[in-house]
Amino acid sequence: MNDRLTAAERVAIARHPQRPNISDYISALFTDFFEQRGDRLMGEDASILGGVALYHGRPVTVIGTRKGKDLEENIHCRFGMPNPEGYRKALRLMRQAEKFRRPVITFIDTGGAYPGLEAEERGQGEAIARNLMEMSRLTVPVIALITGEGNSGGALALAVADRVLMLENAVYAILSPEGFASILWKDAGRSSDACELMKLTAADLKALDVIDEIILEPGGGAHLARAITFRQVDEAISRHLAELSKGKQLGRYQKFRRIGTAVPKKEGQ
């Protein structure tokens, strides 16, 4: 438990280079992972990792953003910022999950969709929009876990889920605090001010009903006691998956439909 951290401190923990990543979660929580590559339209995007695996013996589709472990991998994965091919690959795998009646589990840690020239030429906006629409009407259970940073439509494109879970020090926002500060105040240096205003911590988002559950981290952050983190994540995912498999769900449409229809309660009320 990390009660007293500021939002900016949590952003730093969320970005910690030793923080468990998608590959770590796959090897800790799943067996028999088979990676699937390519969107079948244009290419393969390493910034999204996906495939089929067994989760406690049950076949599931796992998809997540990948930042890479060293500089070479970082560059290859554009630090976890997907191109349209990445989102289209994710959609291809989700459609297969639908076909084979497998639950979908996504892991999200991204600075956002990649703002590049080629990404625009190949329809970054369309790729994200399509995922939002198609994910909203999958009929298999979908669980999304925000493990690090979840920025912008680039994160949301994997997070239209029945259950959205968040690690205690993860952050989820419309864009990075630096981007927010530079848009609002023309000064990216004011990012820690932005962190406090943006309501991007797990506790803020739970209060706003944007996420369903906060998964506690060991003191100082997930990277300091990985085994404990994996156990906590495993417990939460299996509990939600069991509930969803019994048909205990509000329905994904209603879940997102009700966000932003009423003014949420103010803090302390």
Binding site: E120, G123, E126, S136, L156
Partner: protein
């Protein structure tokens, strides 16, 4: 009886659209593209398109409705829906009030039901004078209600987008509106109904990455900037200047994301043709 109401509705819409002076009445309009001056009447008669170079000036939501729907058919939907300040963001309420005073709008989205050449349809319009047409919770809610209205009444839906993207002051709730509107369109789509998305200058950010890109048919006004990331951000990322015409409507058509670039003076006829082509059992 009917015609009295129709006249009243037509007058109301005409009055509302007159308030939308992108191009100030009485003074000359300077075209930002060719830099030349034209008299206000000449520009207004040309649907606010520069008579010299064809530049499409932005127009307000009510004006857009007045040149799209049949005279007197306009009936506004959810006109009272107004933005809140869900995150208690410093200064946001004041800015909203100022925008409301300046534009006469409650929010950046206006919805209506009406007819085009006698065919009923539901039309949503974003107005870039209000917070750059950005996606607030109220904008997302209004568009979702509009989509739901169209499917409950089994009517085709047309949305004119113009947006700078997210409403920063509503943070994550702004982001969630992308999921909400896209999910609503997913249901609309499953009912076999027609959705035409019209992209106008500028359509960027979260609006491009949600409802604007999900049309069965996607049209764009000439020269409109259309993209997910803004040109400045991309330029910073790649460290070189962007090619001429990058992210413009014509570029998006060339790259396969827009069916047709349609000048403003042909838009109504094009929409009418599409409504006719999608009538069940063929046109009557």
């Amino acid at each position: 009886m009917n015609s009295i109401f129709a006249k009243r509705r037509a007058r109301l819409l005409a009055m509302k659209s007159l308030r939308e002076h992108y191009v100030p009445v009485g003074s000359a309009a300077v075209c930002p593209r060719c830099g030349k001056e034209s008299g206000h009447p000449a520009v207004a008669q040309n649907l606010f398109v520069c008579p010299l170079c064809g530049y499409h000036f932005p127009v307000g939501a009510y004006y857009r409705l007045s040149i799209t729907l049949d005279h007197g058919s306009f009936r506004e939907l959810y006109p009272k829906l107004a933005p809140q300040d869900p995150l208690s963001f410093p200064g946001y309420r004041k800015k909203l009030e100022a925008a409301q005073r300046k534009t006469g709008l409650n929010e950046a989205a206006v919805s209506a039901v009406g007819t085009i050449d006698g065919r009923r349809c539901v039309v949503g319009v974003l107005d870039s004078r209000f917070f750059l047409g950005s996606m607030s919770s109220a904008v997302g809610e209004k568009l979702t209600l509009t989509i739901e209205y169209a499917w409950k009444n089994r009517l085709p839906l047309i949305v004119f987008s113009a947006s700078g993207g997210a409403r920063m002051q509503e943070g994550i709730l702004s982001l969630m509106q992308m999921a909400k509107t896209s999910a609503a369109l997913g249901r609309f789509d499953q009912r076999g109904l027609l959705y035409i998305s019209v992209l106008t200058d500028p359509t960027t950010g979260g609006v491009t990455a949600s409802f604007a890109s999900l049309g069965d048919v996607i049209l764009a006004e000439p020269g409109a900037l259309i993209g997910f990331a803004g040109p400045r951000v991309i330029q910073q990322t790649i460290g070189e200047t962007l090619p001429e015409g990058f992210q413009r409507a014509e570029f998006q058509m060339e790259h396969g994301f827009v069916d047709a670039v349609v000048p403003r003076n042909e838009m109504r006829d094009t929409l009418s043709q599409l409504l006719r082509l999608h009538e069940k059992g063929g046109p009557s």
